[in-house]
């Protein structure tokens, strides 16, 4: 059969039912303040990394909660763990700890492929 070069591209939608949100569950448990984010972007505004690279802690938070883990993985390593975001946050979210926890969790995931 002739092939015309068509392919099915991956949808842009967040597939909420399909996505695996174990990472979010894990962080909710270890750092309950993770639930308090209201997406104000104060963290990203003050973030040195965000000013130079395509990195947004606010976005990272929501991606973790939606289970968009591939994007999370690519972004996490950019954080330098300076903690300025935590100083700014009006909701008292321990933003720095969220990054630490996510890094740990993904590292374990990669090591043991669980």
């Amino acid at each position: 059969m002739d092939k015309f070069g068509f392919s099915i591209s991956k949808g842009r939608q967040i597939d909420y039912d399909f996505n695996n949100r174990r990472l979010a569950e894990y962080i909710f448990e270890k750092e309950p303040s993770f639930r308090l984010c209201i997406e104000c972007g104060g963290c990203s505004a003050t973030c040195t990394t965000a000013n130079f690279t395509a990195f947004s802690l606010r976005e990272l938070n929501i991606l973790i909660k939606r289970g968009e883990n591939d994007q999370v993985r690519n972004n996490l390593r950019k954080c330098m763990l300076c903690g300025k975001c935590t100083l700014v946050c009006p909701r008292g979210v321990n933003t720095r700890n969220i990054v630490v926890l996510a890094k740990n969790a993904l590292q374990k995931y990669d090591e043991y492929e669980i």
């Binding site: 209201i38 972007g41 104060g42 505004a45 003050t46 947004s56 976005e59 009006p90 909701r91 008292g92």
Partner: protein, 342 residues
């Protein structure tokens, strides 16, 4: 026998309470810590949502309280009060001893002290001002920078001291969003060449005609609304204010140089109210405002028999709500004076 009620605080709530009580033949001693009554109304030029002059409301309240039943005590604060059987004995800072059948607390609010949010530079950089400072500029009919120039770009920061765990205030002050919109419109009207930007976390337009005002700000006045919390301001070498914010809807950090930054200071329990809570054994909540006996049907009732609340000493309220709350307090007091029960 005529009844006597002490009203503590001569702002909107206190004046309304005093006026309404006097109308039904109850004697009132109105205690005000400042030299004149009116409270925050005196510091505001125009009011949302219709931008009427605040002096009009002041005139109404003054008219209400020009009655012989009301004894006004200015420059007066309360040092002690005791409850003995069905009477209160109150000692003032001026050494007066007053007795009354009931007390209405109308100690109102203080504006959040914006210098506490050091990252916004109030009191550090020139041209970082508060919503109250801007009102004063409108009253004086002069919107200028400290160097005398007219501002071309003005940023308005919402939620300064409200919804902010770092400031110790978890609650929303409710009025700052609509004040921001009102002041943005006024700035555009006063300075047609200027550009005005509002930086908000959420636009809380939950009052009558607020949303319409928001729409007018966009449609008629071209005010720009950018969703993101300003993380900090700094001063540039050319004396401009550089702010950092994430434009959360674009998903990218944004920086902007402005001539003037206006901070929407939130509402806090007043210092006078705090002192009164201490000396009167009145309960306050986590938000430091007075705690009412019931959120739904007892919002004027305190934990002390014969003591009632009116207005923003219980929570942030606009003037309409404050006047309604004050009238409700009057109903509670009349019931109490008749039956001896809160």
């Amino acid at each position: 026998m005529r009844k006597h009620v002490i009203v503590i605080g001569g702002g909107v709530a206190g004046l309304e309470v005093a006026g309404q009580l006097s109308k039904v033949g109850i004697d009132v001693s109105l205690i005000e810590k400042e030299t004149k009554t009116g409270g925050h109304l005196n510091n505001w030029h125009r009011l949302f949502p219709d931008r009427r002059k605040s002096s009009e409301v002041k005139e109404y309240l003054d008219g209400m309280t020009m009655r012989s039943e009301i004894k006004l005590l200015t420059d007066t604060t309360i040092e002690a009060f005791r409850r003995t059987r069905n009477h209160f004995s109150v000692t003032t800072n001026r050494g007066n001893e007053l007795t009354a059948d009931a007390i209405i607390v109308a100690t109102g609010f203080d504006l959040f002290k914006s210098a506490r949010k050091e990252e916004y530079g109030y009191g550090i950089y020139n041209n970082v001002i508060t919503s109250a400072d801007l009102e004063k500029m409108f009253t004086n009919d002069k919107i200028v920078l400290t160097n005398g120039n007219v501002p071309e770009t003005i940023g308005i920061v919402h939620c300064v001291g409200s919804r902010d765990e770092k400031a110790g205030n978890l609650y929303c002050s409710k009025l700052c969003c609509v004040t921001a919109v009102k002041q943005a419109i006024e700035l555009r009207e006063y300075l047609p060449e200027s550009k005005v930007f509002c930086f908000y976390m959420d636009m809380r337009m939950g009052g009558a005609f607020y949303e319409e005002l928001y729409r007018e700000a966009q449609e008629k006045w071209g005010v720009s609304f950018i969703r993101g919390k300003v993380s900090e301001a700094s001063e540039t070498i050319e004396n401009k204010l550089l702010i950092k914010v994430e434009d959360t809807l674009a998903g990218r950090p944004l920086k902007m140089k402005l001539n003037m930054l206006v901070l929407m200071a939130g509402m806090e329990m007043s210092e006078g109210g705090k002192k009164l809570a201490e000396i009167g054994g009145l309960k306050t909540g986590e938000n430091r405002f007075f705690t009412s006996s019931d959120n739904h049907f007892g919002s004027n009732v305190s934990n002390v028999k014969g003591v009632f609340y009116a207005g923003t000493c219980t929570s942030p309220m606009n003037i309409t709500e404050t006047i309604s709350h004050a009238r409700a307090a009057v109903v509670e007091v009349i019931g109490y004076l008749k039956n001896g029960e809160n």
